[in-house]
Symmetry: C3
Subunit: 151 residues, 3 copies
Amino acid sequence: MTETIPDTGAFVTPACYVTVQQFYAWQMGLLDDGQSDAWADTFTTDAVFAEPGLPEPLHGREAIRASVRERTARLRRERLTQRHWFAMLTVTETADGVNTRNYALAVATPQGGELAIRGHAVCLDELVAHGGSWLVRRRTIRPDNRAGQPV
Amino acid sequence: MTETIPDTGAFVTPACYVTVQQFYAWQMGLLDDGQSDAWADTFTTDAVFAEPGLPEPLHGREAIRASVRERTARLRRERLTQRHWFAMLTVTETADGVNTRNYALAVATPQGGELAIRGHAVCLDELVAHGGSWLVRRRTIRPDNRAGQPV
Amino acid sequence: MTETIPDTGAFVTPACYVTVQQFYAWQMGLLDDGQSDAWADTFTTDAVFAEPGLPEPLHGREAIRASVRERTARLRRERLTQRHWFAMLTVTETADGVNTRNYALAVATPQGGELAIRGHAVCLDELVAHGGSWLVRRRTIRPDNRAGQPV
C-alpha cells in the first residue's frame, strides 16, 4: 500500500512558528488594549494595510497610526471592548521573513452587556524579521462575507 | 508543604506539538478553501471518519473524498464560507504517531451576510507520521449537543 | 530608513511557550470534562482564584475544589456541556515560573440544543514550575463586560 505524500506547504521550524504565535498574541493584545501607538509601531514605516472596509489601503506606518488612534477613540466613546482572535496559523518562509495566514475572529462586548461576534476574516501578512521579533510589512484582511467578490 | 504532581498526560516535545499545530492549520485550511482532493489526501488510504451526522462511518480515503467533494459542491451552491477552528490541542504519543484531541468550532458566513456558529465538537484523531508531517488514520467527531448519548 | 524596535515583552523560548500551551489545553479539558478533583489539583495548595462572579476570591486548593465540584454538579443537572477556549497566549518569565495572559471564551451547549456563547474574559495567571509542568498559584478572571470598572 502506497500513500500519497501531502504537500505540507513546507512547515517552518518550531522556533519560527512559536515566535510568530507570540508576536500575534502580543500585537493584537496591544490593539485590543487600546495601545494605539505601540500597535502602529509593529508595522514597518512603509507598511500597507488593506481591508475592504477602507476606501483605499493605508500606506505607511503613520497612516496606520492615525487610523488606529481614531478607532481606539471611537471604541472608548462607545464603551466597547473588542478582542481579536487569530488562530489556525500557517507560516511560510520568504527571503527576509515569513508570510502568514490567520483565521481572525473579532468579538465586541459593551460595558455591562452581551458579547457580539463581529465577523470572521482571513488575515494575510508579510512579516519581516526584526530584532528577534517581527514587523508587519503588508496586511490584507479578507472578510468571509465578501468571499467570491473581487479583492 | 508538599504539592500533588498533576498527571500532565505526558506532554510531547515542542517540536512534535508544533508540527501537529501546523498540520491542523494547513489541513483544515484545505477543507475550508474547498480543496477537496488535497484534503482527502491528508487521510491514510484505509482511514476511518466517524461523526454522528453520517449514517455510518466513512471507510477509506476514497469514501472520504467522495463525501468531501459533495460537501464542497453544496457549500458553493449555497455561497457559504465555512471555517473550522481547531484549538486546545492535546497530543499523546503512540507506537507510530500520535493521538490528538482538539476542540472544534465551525462557523459559516453567507456571501454578504452574517456569521453563524454551527456548533462545537471534540475531534479525536489518530495521526501517523508521514514524510515530516502526518496523515489521519482515524477521525472521530463528538458534537457537544450529543454529550451523554452513546457514541 | 530606521525602524522602531517594538518592545516584544521578552518572548519566552519555544520550549517554554509550548509547555504552557499544552498545560492549558490539558487543564481546561479536565474542567470541561467534569474532572473536578484533577482540575483542583492543578492549583497550588495556597492558590488564589479571583473572578468578579464570586463574592470574594477563593483561597487555597480545597476552596477551589469545593467550588468546582459544585459547578460540575450543577452543569450535570442542567445537562450542559461547557467548553473553555484559551488563546492569544502571552507568557513572561518570573523568578519561579511564568505569568500568562489568555483570551478566554466560554461556550455552552445543552443536550440536543444550540450552542450559546457565555462571554469573553481575559485570564491572568501566575504559574509555578512543577515536575515538567505547571501549577496555578493565582488566577484572575477579567470579564470584558466589566471593563472600565474597578477590578
